[in-house]
């Protein structure tokens, strides 16, 4: 009778998936490149805030991610790049257990945040999402006032300080305060697209997360608004760890410190191909598929 999505502290099942990886039915041998046994993990991340270890994820019988291992450095910007359908958004949404909200999702492996596996039984996804905030592809302010948008997370999470002060601080951090300080009671939907996205960033940082996940945050914005968000991201990286999914390689090159390249094989299962500093990935990619992608030969 109850919903498929667990309300409380129930993690995704850890047991092995029922379906084999290469499902039967495809008679011809699949010519996809054999997945690298251990993708090259950048080893010089001494104190990772997020450590993904051998992470698999299925939507029903379809395996969306296989064997992803990645260490995200603290207070830096890590970009996930790759062609459409490579699993980068799925991976991003696994880091704050947003994927729990989709029916029939199963995960295996480990994502440790400050050493604690967030897929452990006993971990509350609600608390995970407060500590790991998210900014979405399309600005999605609530149909409420600007003030209520920013205060929402603080209110439900029992913020004990001065809410007005918190709202002001978050809006200043999101570089929106000057534009909205005189109309905090107006609907968030009255703002322009770029302002809405900065409002969503303010909403995310108002609950003092350690990490902010950004899923193609500029894909719905014009170049000027994009520029402002990118500047903002650089400033936010002083206080927060940022993981950003982007379609736009120039954006990854401009803003990120580290870049992870993902790719899906002919089985459409996403895998991590290469991970390194952004400079290294864009100047001397080690994997030829990475090179093909960043030079625009596919995707």
């Amino acid at each position: 009778m109850v919903g498929t999505i667990p309300e409380g502290a129930r993690p995704l099942p850890q047991k092995a998936p029922g379906a084999p990886l290469m499902s039967s039915g495809t008679g011809t041998p699949i010519a996809s490149p054999a997945p690298a046994a251990k993708p090259p993990i950048d080893v010089d991340v001494p104190d990772p805030i997020v450590e993904i270890r051998d992470f698999d994820l299925w939507y029903g019988k379809f395996q969306a991610l296989e064997g992803v291992s990645l260490r995200v450095p603290r207070n830096q910007i890590t970009a996930l790049i790759g062609p459409s359908g490579c699993g980068k958004t799925t991976l991003l949404r696994s880091i704050n257990r947003m994927n729990d909200l989709i029916p029939y999702v199963r995960a295996r492996g480990e994502i440790a945040v400050d050493g604690r596996n967030i897929y452990d039984p006993g971990v509350d996804p609600v608390e995970v999402r407060r500590v790991i905030g998210m900014v979405f592809q399309k600005p999605n302010p609530f149909p409420k006032s600007i003030h209520q948008n920013v205060a929402f997370g603080a209110r439900i999470n029992g913020y004990r300080g001065d809410i007005d002060e918190l709202v002001e601080r978050a809006l200043k951090q999101a570089a929106l305060w000057e534009e909205v300080s005189d109309k905090l009671s107006e609907s968030g939907l009255t703002l322009s697209g770029g302002q809405q996205q900065r409002l969503c960033i303010a909403r995310a940082i108002a609950v003092s997360p350690d990490i902010v996940l950004m899923d193609e945050p500029c894909s719905a914005l014009d170049p000027i608004a994009t520029q402002r968000i990118e500047d903002l991201m650089r400033r936010l990286a002083e206080d927060y760890t940022i993981v950003i999914v982007t379609h736009n390689m120039q954006q990854a090159a401009r803003v990120s410190d580290r870049t992870a390249f993902m790719l899906a094989g002919d089985d459409r299962t996403g895998r991590l191909i290469e991970y390194g500093t952004t400079d290294q990935i864009f100047s001397t990619p080690r994997d030829e598929r990475t090179e093909a992608y960043i030079t625009g030969r596919f995707g």
Binding site: L101, G133, N140, F142, F152, I156, R203
Partner: protein, 307 residues
């Protein structure tokens, strides 16, 4: 467009053009039937109602608190019928709005697609059962049940049994329409709330319900309007005694039940007594039409909320 270019050429073929014109005219005539229906309703209610109000003043109709047109000493105050109707409608709303709303939340927010696929149509069956069946249910099940449990003094005809069954029959209007309104709230809004650490309960109560509010309110208005116009269940269960009362344990008569009573009786057509049904019908029509128009206004606002 290619279509209009074609038509320019076909215009030279006069026969074909005439056939097309005739078909278009016939289809328009079909669509006009609905307009003629509305005009017919308005003309009949206004026309016959006007002759009624030549004999009975509007003031008396609206203010007299007794309705006894079929008795020797005649009173033409519609208030007892209106109060009976409102008693049923308000009572039924008290049953249907809470049950319908939480059912809608369940369907939209908690039920798995599989469970939803079963529960929603089953609830909608409640709206598909003929109202005469609800009348039977009220008379033979609800009234005895209430008499045996809570109200030993309850008579065979009473408002409360009609309230219960009318409430049950309008549950699906609330549950289905509110479910639609809640499901129309974009996933992105829910995710935005989950993303700052909201529980499902908080997402539902603080994001989804407020965002869907106008759709939910519209479903309430449509359901109440349906309760006002409901006829057979109240005719069978609530009785035929116009009372200006808000006591649900008494027998009351609604506007609809009165119209049925007159048409079943041997009141001569054309008499003043007979013409009361047009005055009452006009009152009923105005009330339900007003609620429906307000409901549509509310929905119209709801659709502008996003985008």
């Amino acid at each position: 467009m290619a279509a209009s270019a074609n038509q320019v050429r076909f215009a030279r073929n006069r026969r074909r053009h005439l056939i097309e014109q005739a078909i278009g005219g016939a289809l328009f005539a079909c669509a006009s039937v609905t307009v003629v229906t509305t005009v017919g309703i308005v003309v009949i209610l206004l026309g016959e109602g006007a002759t009624f109000f030549q004999d009975v003043s509007v003031i008396e109709f609206l203010t007299n608190d007794r309705w006894t047109p079929l008795f020797a000493s005649k009173n033409f105050g519609v208030l007892p019928l209106v109060s009976g109707t409102l008693l049923i409608a308000v009572g039924a709303s008290l049953v249907a709005l809470p049950i319908g709303t939480v059912s809608a939340v369940f369907l939209s927010e908690y039920a798995s697609p599989h469970v939803r696929g079963v529960v929603k149509p089953v609830l909608e069956v409640l709206a598909g059962i003929p109202t005469v069946v609800y009348g039977y249910f009220a008379l033979t099940f609800i009234t005895p049940l209430l008499r045996d449990s809570f109200f030993p003094e309850l008579g065979p005809f009473n408002a409360v049994s009609a309230i219960v069954v009318v409430g049950v029959m309008i549950i699906p209007m609330v549950s289905s329409l509110s479910d639609d309104a809640m499901r129309a709230v974009p996933v992105a809004l829910r995710e935005g709330a989950y993303g700052v650490g909201a529980t499902r309960f908080e997402v539902v109560t603080r994001i989804v319900l407020p965002a869907a509010l106008s759709g939910i309110v519209a479903s309430y208005l449509l359901a109440i309007s349906r309760a006002i116009g409901e006829t057979m269940a109240v005719t069978i269960a609530a009785g035929a005694t116009p009372h200006l009362t808000f006591n649900p344990l008494e027998s009351v008569q609604t506007m609809t039940a009165y119209i049925v009573q007159v048409s079943l009786g041997d009141t001569p057509h054309g008499s003043l007594e007979y013409r009361t049904i047009f005055a009452v019908g006009a009152t009923l029509f105005t009330m339900t039409l007003g609620m429906n128009i307000i409901a549509r206004r509310v929905v119209g606002r709801f659709q502008e909320t996003y985008e």
